[in-house]
């Protein structure tokens, strides 16, 4: 009999949503269990990293890796699994582009430690203790991983073969991808390395709202208004990221009258999601007067970085070199 292909699933700095999403493929999980020999899947299976370390390089066929890289242990696991896997997949927004926890790059380690352990209103820490990677307890030395200054994507740490977008990826897409991989291992052609396994258009394509030419006099914040349920949310003034966000979710958020927040990242071939949002929104501002334009932008979009780079700051072209102002401009 031929051995089943080996599958590994791993989570680094992530929230577990990707794991829940994988479980959310429901009974199909059994098919996955049947099709693969699962060598590592922390949330559901007891398997040993030793065994993974002992394996010959390249002996894992596919590794779905979710979570970004934020401490020394995660970096090690990324390196280990890269080495052991034929195909390494950056699975979900964190591994793909950094996701919301990537906004931590606006602050950096020192700022985080100082607030969390010293300044937070509930903390009681007269001696101002902060956690140490290496601590001499009376009984001996204790180690915890080194907390990094910067959140990085998986492909900023090791080379990645494919990407699966989404925070988290939709169960339907996950199953489709697993099937594609199975087919691929069976000799079916796989997409070129570096491909993001998702649709190559944006959420508007799946959104049922009616769209017209756009002219925007003012950007509204979600708490300010109740949009109607039939027209394009952007045309109603809400900063909906759907126009720049990769399709594949079925426009779930606009369906419940909430603007898309961009969790599937940018469309195929786009290097910087925020730039796409900035340029498209700015282009349709209905004013030619610099002062008025500035007012419309500042009033309607008080937090441009958080709005345009909500999910992609680590992957974006923005570099913390610009953080002279501590990530808080005006």
């Amino acid at each position: 009999m031929t051995a089943k292909p080996k599958l590994a699933l791993y989570w680094a700095a992530s929230c577990g949503g990707c794991e829940i999403a994988v479980l959310a493929i429901d009974e199909k999980i059994l098919e996955v269990a049947a099709a693969f020999d699962i060598v590592l899947w922390p949330v559901a299976i007891d398997a040993k990293v030793h065994d993974v370390e002992k394996m010959a390089d390249q002996s894992i066929d596919v590794c779905l890796f979710n979570g970004s890289i934020r401490n020394s242990e995660q970096e090690y696991m990324a390196q280990l699994l890269r080495r052991k896997s034929k195909i390494l997949v950056a699975f979900g927004s964190c591994a793909h582009e950094g996701c919301i926890p990537g906004l931590a790059n606006l602050a950096g380690r020192e700022a985080i430690f100082d607030y969390v352990y010293r300044r937070s209103p509930s903390v009681d820490n007269p001696q101002g203790i902060v956690p140490q990677p290496e601590f001499e307890a009376p009984e001996g030395t204790l180690h915890i991983p080194v907390f990094y200054d910067t959140v990085k994507t998986l492909d900023q740490t090791v080379n990645v073969d494919y990407y699966v977008p989404g925070c988290p990826p939709e169960a339907e897409n996950i199953y489709a991808i697993v099937k594609a991989v199975i087919a691929g291992l069976g000799g079916a052609p796989l997409p070129p390395p570096g491909t993001v396994l998702g649709k190559e258009t944006t959420v508007c394509d799946e959104c049922e709202r009616t769209r017209n030419e756009k002219k925007i006099k003012a950007f509204k914040r979600t708490w300010e208004m109740i949009p109607n349920e039939t027209e394009c949310l952007l045309e109603q003034g809400l900063v909906c990221c759907g126009l720049a966000t990769r399709a594949g979710c079925g426009a779930l958020c606009p369906k419940v009258n909430s603007p898309c927040i961009g969790c599937h990242g940018a469309n195929a071939g786009v290097e910087d999601f925020g730039a796409r949002m900035m340029t498209s929104l700015a282009s349709v501002i209905d004013s030619n007067d610099p002062a008025e334009i500035r007012r419309i932008i500042q009033e309607g979009i008080p937090d441009p970085v958080g709005t345009f780079y909500r999910f992609s700051l680590p992957r974006s072209l923005l570099r913390r070199g610009a953080l002279a102002g501590n990530g808080r401009g005006h």
Partner: protein, 488 residues
């Protein structure tokens, strides 16, 4: 001095590491339970528009994003001084009840349950959801999967996404439901009640009918006499979405009952240099270290503690289960950590009953599900009961609603000290003369899993787990002995 490293512990939602030090006689001198990460949401959320918090904090934990979504939405109501219309409140609680039922199901069958269903002594390779499916057979497995599927499906229908919803806003929610959707929610809710009853029955048959299990539950190893915390309604009955926070002392007497916005008067967080996670405790009692009893500020916030802190449950079947629970376990309060699994099933029943109650509320389809704020935002606290403990979000903003300060005390964090104590106690009870057995490892784990700890929440991070392994080290740290589980 010898040391045992348990690194990391398996099948918890989040990463933990235990170092147990043994003295010359091989008896436990101390045990350290370490949490290796932190993500700093409190810091990078500053500067963001407050209305984004339900979406941002969703990503603190993908296991219970709905809890953060709700706590954040409630904090926004307070921040903007806006009253949520009745329909809005009910819609939120409805979605939240559906989530609670789904989450408790996941834990009982996928994470904690396996210990009982496939048994504590079964090879670890089988102590998982797949093992459960093998053991109970496809029909039951089908029930479990349906329950999870229905829950996720309804959450997506109401709140956009089955994981990471995008729905809550100051003053209500982004969209209500129509009659068609209500019908479907009601129908699946009635199935859910059946499932909850079935699960309780399964617990009776598999666990309560097995003396070994009952002894294990009631045995001293897993008992901790601490304070119990939980949210209660006006009649001191458990409520997950809204109410006052009630804390009872180890003897079950009310210690304090406070409005969530006053949490800073009651709680404080202690910092240790050997872990990234902080230890909340009762300010008035004070931090006395990792010890039990009235004089230690340590408290629990779990399904068990919620039942201890309440006088009952607000739905009929759940109230019966509640009474049976205390009758069987010898009255309130119960301190047997493993009983938390049972308490969780009682809550599952309550959640499903509440689900149907709300789904059949005439107001639930009202189009008046949101009030637009008019006041200037300044400060707000929002608290809900997360499956794993009381969850508090506290925001301050400038007049534009841009966050200037954020503080979060999340479910599992409340239980950090008790969990650490459980580990230490189990170790003390079981390790003698430096002898470690495979049984010990699972015992420790079981005590641990009862809390359904989610260090994703606690650390705002969820790093990977690896199978448990124990290394017995000599005084110079050289490895004397290695034990690993599932050697089979």
């Amino acid at each position: 001095m010898q040391r045992i490293s348990i690194d990391p512990i398996t099948r918890l939602e989040g990463h933990g590491k235990i170092d147990i030090f043994l003295n010359e006689e091989g008896e436990v001198a101390n045990a350290y339970f370490q949490i290796p990460e932190l993500r700093g949401f409190e810091v990078f959320c500053v500067g963001r528009p407050a209305e984004d918090m339900p979406n941002l904090t969703d990503r603190i934990c993908g296991v219970c994003p709905e809890a953060h979504h709700m706590a954040a939405s409630k904090a926004l109501d307070a921040l903007w001084h806006v009253e949520v219309p009745p329909a809005g409140k009910k819609l939120r609680e409805l979605m939240y009840s559906i989530f609670f039922a789904t989450d408790h199901t996941t834990h009982f069958y996928a994470l904690g349950g396996p210990d009982f269903i496939v048994g504590p002594d079964a090879p670890a390779a089988e102590r998982n959801i797949l093992g459960v499916i093998q053991k109970v057979g496809m029909d039951v497995a089908g029930k479990v999967l349906k329950m999870r599927h229905d829950g996720h499906y309804l959450i997506q229908m109401m709140a956009a996404r089955r994981v990471q919803p995008n729905w809550g806003l100051p003053g209500g929610v982004s969209r209500g439901i129509n009659e068609e959707q209500r019908k479907e929610i009601e129908k699946l809710g009635r199935d859910a009640i059946e499932f909850a009853l079935f699960s309780l029955q399964a617990f009776r048959d598999i666990v309560l009918k097995n003396k070994a299990y009952v002894d294990l539950i009631l045995g001293d190893i897993f008992n901790h006499h601490t304070y119990s915390m939980g949210m209660v309604d006006a009649n001191n009955r458990t409520n997950f979405y809204d109410g006052m926070i009630r804390v009872v002392d180890p003897d079950g007497k009310e210690f304090v009952k406070y409005a969530p916005k006053d949490y800073l008067n009651v709680l404080a967080e202690h910092v240790e240099p050997w872990t990234y996670l902080k230890f909340p405790y009762l300010k008035k009692v004070g931090w006395k270290g990792f010890v039990d009893g009235k004089d230690s500020g340590v408290y629990k916030a779990t399904p068990l503690s919620r039942l201890n802190a309440a006088d009952g449950l607000a739905t009929p079947k759940a109230q019966e289960a509640y009474d049976e629970f205390y009758k069987t376990l010898g009255g309130k309060p119960v301190h047997a950590t493993l009983a938390t699994h049972w308490a969780r099933l009682v809550e599952l029943l309550y959640a499903t009953e509440r689900w149907v109650e709300l789904a059949t509320d005439p107001e639930i389809t009202s189009p008046n599900y949101r009030t637009i704020p008019t006041a200037v935002p300044d400060e707000g606290v929002g608290t809900v009961e997360a499956p794993r403990g009381t969850l508090t979000h506290h925001y301050k903003t400038d007049s534009r609603g841009i966050l200037t300060e954020v503080n979060l005390i999340v479910g599992t964090t409340n239980n950090y000290a008790p969990i650490a104590m459980s580990c230490k106690k189990a170790a003390e009870k079981l390790i003698h003369k430096g002898k470690v057995t495979e049984g010990l490892l699972n015992m420790v784990e079981m005590g641990f899993r009862a809390y359904d700890p989610c260090f994703g929440c606690a650390t705002h991070s969820l790093p990977g787990q690896m199978p448990m392994e124990v290394r017995l080290r000599g005084p110079n740290g050289e490895v004397l002995e290695v034990l690993t589980k599932n050697l089979a």
